[in-house]
């Protein structure tokens, strides 16, 4: 399974993270997204005429939507990440998967504007991002009152992985995460999962690592 990947892309990270969490090995094909704009070159446009990354290739299956990639990886290796099949849970997973595109457009748009100087109305992108974060916060508060730590269930699903990266990187777009205590707890729950992997700007929980002990004089 080959992933056309860019290390700083939150959407690519979703797929790398999902694969790591469920123990699927990916062949990583790095794409020079910036500054080379390789995703708009003939080789990648032939795979994905939309000119976006990530792209996941498995035999003659070519996926260009990260949520579809999450569903594919989970269905192949760890179907419990697709939910239990209970109607409410199924609906919540679909709700948050669709919602994740709003995070990409708002928080991701603000991040591209601030990091790569892409054009855009930064005030409007940030306002839309804050509106989306408030919805997510309210949703997580309600889940907490139902006794559940994750977006659709008491265990993580593909919906959590679809929403997590752009939220965690919101400060890159000038949007503070300080006002959202439920998002903070949820982020910590995801970052504390076994086999969690990092990307630049998103680190695992330090307190889970053993305290490094340096012998005096060893350095």
């Amino acid at each position: 399974m080959k992933l056309y990947d860019y290390v700083l892309s939150p959407s690519c990270y979703k797929v790398r993270l999902m694969a790591a969490l469920i123990g699927v090995k990916l062949e990583i094909r790095p794409v020079d997204f910036h500054p080379g704009a390789e995703h708009l070159g003939p080789e990648l446009m032939a795979l994905n005429p939309a000119g976006s990354i990530p792209i996941l290739e498995d035999g003659d299956l070519i996926l260009t939507e990260s949520t579809a990639m999450l569903a594919y990886l989970a269905a192949k290796a760890a179907p419990e990440w697709l939910g239990s099949g209970a109607p409410e849970e199924t609906a919540r997973i679909q709700q948050w998967l669709s919602f994740s595109h709003r995070l990409t457009a708002s928080l991701g748009g603000a991040r591209l504007h601030e990091m790569l100087l892409r054009p855009g109305d930064i005030a409007a992108l940030q306002a839309q991002g804050i509106a989306a974060l408030r919805e997510l916060e309210a949703g997580l508060v309600e889940q907490g009152l139902r006794g559940m730590r994750f977006l659709a269930s008491d265990r993580p699903t593909i919906a959590d992985i679809a929403c997590f990266p752009y939220v965690a990187l919101a400060p890159d777009g000038g949007i503070l995460l300080d006002p959202y205590p439920a998002i903070r707890l949820w982020s910590r729950a995801i970052r504390g999962l076994d086999d969690f992997i990092e990307m630049p700007g998103i680190h695992r929980l330090h307190e889970l690592n053993p305290e490094p002990q340096i012998e005096p004089g060893a350095a």
């Binding site: 309210a138 009152l145 006002p179 439920a182 307190e207 005096p216």
Partner: protein
């Protein structure tokens, strides 16, 4: 977690033994926010170079100098903290009195509103009582609000009857979201006029 009090930003953290501590949100070493840090045992460590601080603010450990006992002069300011019925109170200076108790109420959640206290009270249709609680006129039985002004924003702590069912609690959370929208609309109208 990061929080704000009138004295400035703080890192509010809970030690492994369960003590809540309010430390200034700035590592004296390089100025990094301590709320980006992490708690191990009874210490809060800075994410940048790992300097760690105890509950009274003294520096306990500097990882780059493992054999050094940090001098007493390296410390972060801390504030007295009192926890009662699920609410953490932080004193500015020496506490003059014990914080109020809210019998029969439990905290639900805290929301930041882009509006001042007057706009929140106008949206609620009620003013704070002597203990600081607002009972919104449309929902007097449903929720109580405890308001904390933060510069041009207001932090709303939502409380409700401690016997409320989960579905009542979810409804109360949605009511608080509506009140926030109303308060922000009112504030925007005031600023536009």
């Amino acid at each position: 977690m990061p929080a704000r009090i009138p004295a400035g930003p703080i890192a509010l953290w809970r030690s492994q033994a369960g003590h809540a501590v309010a430390s200034a949100d700035r590592c004296p070493h390089r100025g990094m926010r301590l709320s980006h840090g992490f708690v191990r045992g009874e210490a809060l460590s800075c994410i940048y170079h790992g300097w760690s601080y105890g509950k009274t603010g003294n520096c306990l450990r500097i990882p780059a100098h493992p054999s050094l006992t940090p001098p007493e002069t390296i410390r972060v300011a801390t504030h007295d903290v009192e926890e009662s019925d699920g609410i953490i109170w932080i004193a500015l200076g020496q506490p003059a009195a014990r914080p109020p108790r809210f019998e029969g109420l439990v905290p639900l959640r805290s929301l930041t509103v882009n509006a001042n206290v007057a706009a929140v009270e106008a949206a609620a249709g009620a003013k704070a009582d002597p203990e600081g609680l607002v009972s919104p006129s449309q929902h007097p039985q449903e929720i109580r609000l405890l308001l904390a002004p933060q510069d041009d924003q207001t932090l709303i702590h939502v409380l409700l009857d401690d016997k409320s069912s989960p579905s009542r609690r979810i409804a109360a959370s949605r009511t608080a979201e509506s009140l926030r929208r109303m308060a922000e609309d009112l504030q925007a109208k005031v600023q536009a006029s």
